[in-house]
Symmetry: C2
Subunit: 429 residues, 2 copies
C-alpha cells in the first residue's frame, strides 16, 4: 500500500481524553476514532490489526476442532426469559423494542442462542462432542466506558460453546480450549497466564481467566516461572500440570501460602483477554437441551463457554509492546510487515529503487506500507516509529548512490546497511 493512497490520519498530539498508553497510541496512530462513548470506528490501520488477531484466533479454534458459525447481534428477549437471565442481567444489557413492540436485545453473549440451536438439531450423544464458535460484535452498556477499546460498549468477541454428553467429555473440551488459548496468545507474541477464576454471572464451577503480561497492565499478577517456559508444540503437553502451576492476581495472592520457590516466583502486571467456563447443565436444564445417552435415557447436555476479546486484544497487545516513540507490533499481528520510506520522492533514482523494492516485496507476499509522501524525513521516521511496523526500510539518495538501503528493526532499533538484494532475501524469508 502506498501511503499517498492510504488513509492514515495520525495525530501530532496525545489526545487529552486517553488515560492509558494503548488508547492514546491507537488514536495517535490513526487506528480508531470514537463515534460515541465506548463505540469506535476502526480506521484502516486498526482494522488491519483487528483482522490479523481475528484470523489467529480462528485458526486456533479450527485446529482445536471447533466449528465456526455466526449468530446475529439482535436476539429476542424470550430466549433470555427461558434461562432467567433477561431479568437477572443488569443495565449492561441493551434492551430494544422493535416496530411490533417485541422485546429484543443486543447480545452481550450467546449462551441462550447457541443452546437453542443445539436443542433444535442434536438428539444423540453420538453427535457429540460439538464445539460451535463465532466471532461477532457484542454490546454491553457499560455505565462508564473508558480506556478506548479496552472497555468499550460495542466490542468484538470470539465466543465458543462446547456440548458434551458427560463430565469427562466436557473436561476434554475445556482442556482443548485451554490449550488453544495458550497457543493463540503465544502466536500474538504474548505470554498468557491462566488463573483460576470466579465464575460470576455466567455460573458454573470450573473457570480460568487468561491475563497477558504487560508492564502497564491493569492488575498485579504473581506466577510460576514455568509459564514462561512452556513448549506449546509438545505432543505430550500436560494440561493438568499447567493448571496446577501457581498464578494469582494480587487480590488472591497470599505470600505465606504460596509454595513457589522465591527464585521461581514472578511478579508482573496483566491484562485480561480471555475467559473460559465450564458450567455443566445450567442452560441445558433451563432450556431443555437434552441428548439420548448410550443407555437410552435423556440427559441434559454438559456445556462450557470460552471467550476471547478480539477488539480488547488490539489494546492489550499495545500495552505489552510499546515504547516512548510508539507501538512495536509483534510480527504476526502487525498491519504491515515492512514500512518502506522513500526519503526523496522527487528524486528519480531514489523513487525508482523504492518502487522496485515495493513491487518485489509485494510480489514475494510481504505486506508493505510505502511512505511516498512529500514530507520531511523526520516526519516520516516519526510516523513509522509511531505506527510500529516491525521492519523499517529507508531508501535515500546517498544509499542509492552507494547501492544500499537501510534496514531498521523497530523493536531493537538496530540498523544495518545492505544491498537491495540482501534486503529482499532477508525480508522474504
Amino acid at each position: 500500500m502506498r501511503l499517498s493512497r492510504y488513509f492514515l490520519p495520525v495525530l501530532k498530539e496525545a489526545p487529552a481524553e486517553a488515560e492509558i498508553a494503548s488508547h492514546s497510541l491507537m488514536l495517535r496512530a490513526g487506528m480508531i476514532q470514537q463515534l460515541s462513548a465506548g463505540i469506535y470506528n476502526w480506521l484502516p490501520l486498526g482494522h488491519a490489526v483487528l483482522k490479523r488477531i481475528e484470523q489467529i484466533v480462528r485458526e486456533e479454534m479450527n485446529r482445536a476442532g471447533a466449528i465456526e458459525i455466526l449468530m446475529p447481534t439482535i436476539q429476542p428477549a424470550d430466549l433470555w426469559r427461558e434461562s432467567g437471565r433477561y431479568d437477572a442481567y443488569g443495565k449492561e444489557m441493551l434492551r430494544i423494542t422493535d416496530r411490533h413492540e417485541r422485546d429484543m436485545l443486543y447480545g452481550p453473549t450467546n449462551e441462550e442462542n447457541v443452546t437453542d440451536i443445539f436443542r433444535r438439531h442434536v438428539r444423540s450423544y453420538k453427535q457429540l462432542p460439538l464445539n460451535l464458535y463465532h466471532i461477532q460484535w457484542k454490546f454491553r452498556d457499560e455505565i462508564r466506558p473508558r480506556f478506548g477499546v479496552m472497555r468499550g460498549r460495542e466490542f468484538l468477541m470470539k465466543d465458543a460453546y462446547s456440548f458434551d454428553a458427560d463430565f469427562e467429555g466436557a473436561k476434554r473440551s475445556y482442556d482443548a480450549m485451554f490449550l488453544a488459548y495458550l497457543r493463540a496468545f503465544s502466536r500474538m507474541g504474548l505470554t498468557a497466564i491462566p488463573m483460576v477464576a470466579e465464575t460470576g454471572p455466567i455460573g458454573g464451577n470450573m473457570s480460568h481467566e487468561f491475563q497477558i503480561l504487560a508492564s502497564t497492565g491493569e492488575s498485579a499478577v504473581y506466577y510460576d516461572a514455568a509459564f514462561e517456559e512452556v513448549d506449546l508444540g509438545a505432543p505430550d503437553l500436560d494440561i493438568e500440570r499447567l493448571k496446577s502451576l501457581y498464578a494469582a492476581t494480587d487480590e488472591m495472592h497470599e505470600p505465606e501460602k504460596c509454595e513457589v520457590a522465591a527464585d521461581r516466583l514472578r511478579a508482573g502486571r496483566g491484562v485480561e483477554v480471555g475467559h473460559i467456563f465450564y458450567f455443566g447443565t445450567k442452560y441445558s436444564e433451563a432450556m431443555g437441551a437434552t441428548v439420548t445417552g448410550p443407555d437410552g435415557s435423556d440427559v441434559p447436555v454438559e456445556m462450557g463457554s470460552y471467550g476471547i476479546g478480539i477488539s480488547r486484544l488490539v489494546g492489550a497487545i499495545i500495552e505489552a509492546f510499546h515504547d516512548e516513540r510508539g507501538i512495536v507490533w509483534p510480527e504476526d499481528v502487525a498491519p504491515f510487515k515492512v514500512g518502506l520510506v522513500n526519503l526523496r520522492p522527487g528524486d528519480e533514482a531514489t523513487s525508482a529503487m523504492a518502487d522496485e523494492l515495493y513491487a518485489k516485496l509485494e510480489k514475494a507476499g510481504v505486506t508493505v506500507l510505502l511512505d511516498d509522501r512529500d514530507e520531511r524525513a523526520g516526519v516520516k521516521f516519526a510516523t513509522m516509529d509511531l505506527i510500529g511496523l516491525p521492519w523499517q526500510v529507508t531508501v535515500g539518495p546517498r544509499g542509492v548512490a552507494a547501492g544500499t538501503v537501510e534496514l531498521k528493526a523497530r523493536g531493537t532499533g538496530e540498523r544495518e546497511e545492505m544491498t537491495p538484494e540482501a534486503l529482499l532475501a532477508r525480508l522474504s524469508a
Copy 2:
C-alpha cells in the same frame, strides 16, 4: 472436514414457511436457522458461503483502490439529526435508548458516520480521491420480513463511500465501482445487469442497480445481449458504452421505444444485489465536510455510496443455481470444492482410500467435505446433491477393487471413473 465432526443439520422436508427456492434450500441444507422474524443464525455451511462471497467483494474493492475500515453497528442519533434523516427515515430504522437515555440507532446505512470520519481528518483536495468501505451488519426493521436472507432485518452489507474534489473525480470513482461490481458478480458465476435506477431516500442524481439473472428472480428484466459478452479483463473496457446499453425492469421497459434489435434483446428475471449512487454534496453540505481546492477556497466534497448485499447474495446465487435436487454452487463461492463420499466406512480398504484421497486433496489446498457417516448410500448422495458442492467423488468397495473412484460434476451430472491419481491431478489443477 469430516462430516462426522461437522455440524450439518439437513432437513428431510421442505419447510412450510419458505416461499422461494433459496429460502427453502438454505433451511434444508442446514445453512441457516431463524432466530426471530428476519433474523438468522448462520450455521457452518451457510457461514462458509457468506465468507467466500465477502472475500470476493473485498478483493474487488481493494483492487479498485477502496480502503477497508469498520464502522460500528450502533450510532448516535445526533449524527442523523445533522443530515436530517433521523426524522425522515421511517420505522425501518431501529431506534434505541441507552442507559443514559441517549438516542441511538442500529445503522441501516452509514453515510452520516463516514462523512463525520471524513470531516474530522481530511482538509485538502490533495488527499483525494478517497474511497472507504466496510463490510458490516445492518438492521432495517422491515414490517414483513420474508424470503429468508433475501429480505431479512439483520443483514450483511458491503458499503463503500467515495470522496472527490469535483464532479469529474466523482464520476471516475463511480465508474471504478461500476466496473468492480461487474467483476465481483462475474467471479461469483453471475451475470449482472446494471440498470439506471431511481435514487430513492438516499438522494442524488446518478444511480445504477445491479440485477443478477435467475430464472426464479423477483422481477422481469430486458437487456441487450451485449451484457453477456463483456470481457471484464479488457484493459480498454468502455464503461460509457456499458452504461448506454439497454436494460430495464418490466416496469420501465417500453417495447415500442426500445432500440435493441429483436434478436439481441434478452428477457429474463433478475434479483437486485447491488446499488450504486452518486449524490454529490447532499451530506457534505449538511454536515460541513469541505476540502480546500487548488484555488484555496473551501468546497463541499463530492460523494457517492455503493452497496452490495452480501447475505442477500447467498440467497440470490441459490436462486440462480439450483435444480430439483438442491443447490448447484459455482466453484468460487462453494463452501467446499469437493464432496467425498465414503460408501462403506466399515470397510477397511474403502476407508483407507477415502482417507488417503481426503488427506491428499487437503494437502493440495482443495477444500473437501468427507462423508464418513454410517449412512445408506442413498442418504449420502441426496445430501451431496442438496448441499451442491461442485465435485462429488465416490469411493466404494467395487471401485477400490478395480483401482478406481467416481467423479461426478454436480452441475452437469456427468460421471467418470478414474484412478485416484488422475482424480487428484484433475481436482488439484
